[in-house]
Symmetry: C2
Subunit: 527 residues, 2 copies
């Protein structure tokens, strides 16, 4: 029997608060003890990844208490309920089924008169067939020439995830002969976004993917018109250059304005939709359906690990609850995501949405105000770039920021150069290793300006190489981490009511139906 309780009513949470800030990270990370700790505090993940939490401020006592918390909050039971198709998104009264796009974790889930796994697989097959026809030139432009570029039109979850995944795999695909079409993305309602992308491509050989679940997202429909104008001005038939990704009930679903339509449904939130048709169409067109399938398999393998009841063998659960410990016991308001991989340049922006939109909530799942903090601010940039930028504050600022490193042993392209006895890839990896220890152990100095306090906690996910499978596993890890945190906080991670008020007021401004401050701002901005 599942009970939904606020975090601060749980005995294990009170026990956790009692443990507080006991672990002296600099001490436990020093000497042979430190070496043993790094060896031991490591959890295998899918696709060759490992989650290492040695540099977190936890010991066996804390982890044991986190395990108790996982039990008392029924996190695994609730996850099971989710993937077995219970209505977990209570605000919008919806199932939450993004895991089902990549595998069958539990029971068959029936909704809308169909087996939902079958539905998602059917969409993948439809997309794969379509993509293969495009690649073969069977679906081509009016002159019968192959499409060379795919342009996604979408915003938020229809943009950040697919874009981050595309950028993460673009160089890998080039290197491995899998870059079948170049992808571009139009998202912002700023007209300069669409204009700049259109100026940079050959529209005659471009296929556009319009992504909007409801078929009513204003930014996306606006950018669609922008693109249609450009196609018309180039003497092209827009309906021969466009496909739609939408829900079956949307106005776009049966429109003759599109070459084809592929479907998601209400059970997949935008920010969790990279594995659905939202990511599937653009990624299958860019890299081929086989590569997209590898990405899904990596995510599915990682999903399975998230069902393990042993917290020490469940990286998403462990990562999630260490985060709750840092947020609600140690009182830390931010988390930095720091991938040592240029290919992951937009992955932090995707996680920023995934995390902050899911867990930036102040009421529990029953709409009651809660008395503890929830989701942190998430930010990050790739290393080593960040080291030459904001790391100063991370090392010596007055506030502590928990860190989440990601690193790979091998580069994607494999071209490298030896300088001062090491390759660039070795330098990259040496830097992330050095940072973990620098943050944890610090360094004393008579000159206090050169002193490092240490005690600044981090974890790292280490992989062999950033590939479709390891990227899928990485994505699944963070999706499940965020889900577990939301459940621990007893909030609904799957709605986003906080975005509504701005939309309503923007419509008023555009209708010139304003007074007071809003009218003056509108005047100042010349609307």
């Amino acid at each position: 029997m599942i009970n939904w309780k606020n975090l601060d009513t749980l005995n294990s949470f009170k026990e956790l608060q009692g443990l507080g800030n006991e672990v002296d990270l600099a001490a436990v990370m020093t000497g042979e003890q430190g070496a043993e700790r790094v060896k031991n505090m490591s959890v295998p993940m899918a696709a060759g990844l490992t989650f290492n939490y040695a540099a977190k401020k936890v010991d066996d006592k804390v982890v044991d208490t986190l395990a108790k918390l996982a039990d008392e909050a029924q996190l695994l039971d609730k996850f099971e309920a989710l993937y077995n198709g219970e209505v977990v998104n209570t605000g919008e009264k919806r199932l939450v089924l993004h895991q089902l796009t990549r595998g069958q974790l539990g029971n068959a889930v029936n909704a809308d008169g169909t087996d939902k796994r079958d539905f998602y697989v059917a969409q993948q097959k439809n997309i794969a067939e379509f993509a293969k026809k495009v690649h073969a030139g069977e679906i081509a432009n009016a002159k019968g020439e192959k499409f060379t570029t795919v342009v996604q039109i979408g915003i938020g979850g229809s943009d950040l995830g697919p874009r981050a995944v595309y950028l993460a795999l673009e160089n890998w695909a080039k290197k491995n002969g899998k870059l079948l079409m170049e992808a571009k993305f139009i998202s912002n309602v700023d007209p300069d976004d669409a204009a700049a992308v259109l100026n940079s491509i050959d529209v005659e050989h471009s296929l556009f993917v319009l992504v909007s679940k409801s078929g009513t997202t204003l930014e996306t429909l606006t950018n669609e018109s922008f693109v249609k104008d450009a196609l018309k001005n180039a003497g092209l038939d827009a309906s021969k250059h466009m496909i739609a990704v939408t829900s079956q009930t949307s106005p776009l679903a049966q429109s003759s304005d599109y070459l084809a339509a592929f479907f998601m449904d209400d059970y997949i939130g935008g920010r969790f939709s990279s594995c659905s048709a939202v990511g599937g169409a653009v990624l299958s067109l860019a890299f081929g359906p086989e590569v997209f399938a590898e990405f899904l398999n990596g995510a599915a393998e990682e999903d399975k690990l998230a069902t393990n009841k042993d917290i020490r063998k469940n990286p998403a659960l462990l990562d999630a609850l260490i985060g709750v410990f840092e947020r609600n016991v140690l009182g830390l308001p931010c988390t930095a995501v720091l991938p040592y991989s240029q290919a992951l340049s937009r992955f932090p922006a995707h996680l920023q949405q995934l995390d902050m939109e899911s867990n930036g909530k102040s009421v529990n799942r029953f709409g009651e105000p809660i008395d503890y903090v929830t989701g942190p601010v998430i930010f990050g940039e790739p290393g080593t770039n960040g080291q030459h930028s904001f790391y100063q504050l991370l090392h010596q600022g007055t506030d502590i920021v928990p860190l989440q490193f990601i690193g790979f042993k091998n580069s994607q392209i494999g071209t490298d150069v030896v300088i001062q006895g090491s390759t660039s890839q070795q330098k990259l990896c040496a830097n992330v290793a050095a940072q973990i220890v620098a943050f944890a152990c610090g360094k004393d100095d008579e000159n206090k300006n050169k002193k490092f306090e240490g005690g600044r906690a981090s974890s790292i996910i280490i992989g062999e190489k950033l590939t479709p499978a390891s990227l899928g596993a990485l994505l699944s890890h963070f999706e499940n981490k965020i889900m577990f945190q939301g459940v621990t906080w007893n909030i609904n991670s799957f709605d986003q009511e906080g975005v509504q008020l701005g939309k309503v007021l923007a419509k008023k401004v555009l209708a010139h139906d304003t007074d007071g401050a809003l009218k003056v701002y509108s005047d100042l901005l010349n609307i």
Copy 2:
């Protein structure tokens, strides 16, 4: 007589603490009172910009107290000392002269046996002459063909600022026939960064700008070798494809490996170097020296405003002290920078470095620990994209994040489309106006999940259009804001000792001179 005192020793700060969280933002922003407030709390900036702080949690009493604080902390006197050439960077015993690259704010400054304004202007002239020869084809590749692409090799301050500025003006330049060369940037030691950029350009027609003040930055020298290999492999003479931007005393200064060398000096910190040769070379090559001059003029005009002793007429000072109020009195740990302009996509990343590397410090300028918080975490993405991402947390999360909006009345390219009675540009502007009011005033709802508390403070900088001049003014505003905050906190904003320990440990890893935890991490990462 200048006194350097810690913030918590100042009477005006204690007075400020007494004022606390008195302003009910939702109340004062409602109705006619709100309209008057937006009209009144507006400060003209340079190049057609305006700083509006109506939606900040301040009233006349708070601003008056901030003015007292500015007096008591001698902020204007200290700024004057800085631009007149006193040794303000006490840690490294250096002058701080970045303002001098764009104008003569105060007295002539002599150092290293030369008038420094003359020195910076001379470098600009050298760069301008060189750039014009490149554009005219007088300096060309071995076949006598024009260079079409310029590639900056640099990291941190040699990357983020120039890159953000380039991206901000690229579409403006295309539209106005000023894009003379396309620019690319290589920064990360990740070998995939350089490899991907090199794969995307025509090296035979590319000119590389190597930027390193010391001439010893490991990432940059490594990437230089990477590029030289690529040039050699293409049968090209690397020394005919490369220029250097460095200090006169660096090993690069007199090397025959470069077509030309342009100089900065130790008085310009990396993150403040966009207006020096660091930004000057790549931007003058990309857009022409006249455009770079307009950018400098915008910054110089804004610098002048920062010398105004009336806080209500000094936008950088006012913005800075409102930030101190939010950080040290209201206790808020982050600030979000939210430009409603896709062209400013990397401007938040530049400000993140500028702010967090300058003010992420725990000791005062004398190396003594301080008992109050300093620089906040800075993050941000362009609107409206962010609205569909992390704004959920900003509206309904448990933590309050102060917001800094930027918006322009007109787009850069000017191509637009009318949907539902408004242009995209109008929709963009309507959204930023709506967000300010939504954050400030909130909205009640019986369903607490749909309730917006309001009281979430923001400011906005409004401009006519993002141009070289307004971008320069924007950059100057933030540079001066951050400088005023650092002085208020009595810290040295111009060193970055926090980046050293990681460098030292990374070298040890590469020399295999490690034990304990560092050795195990090195093994796990296959170094």
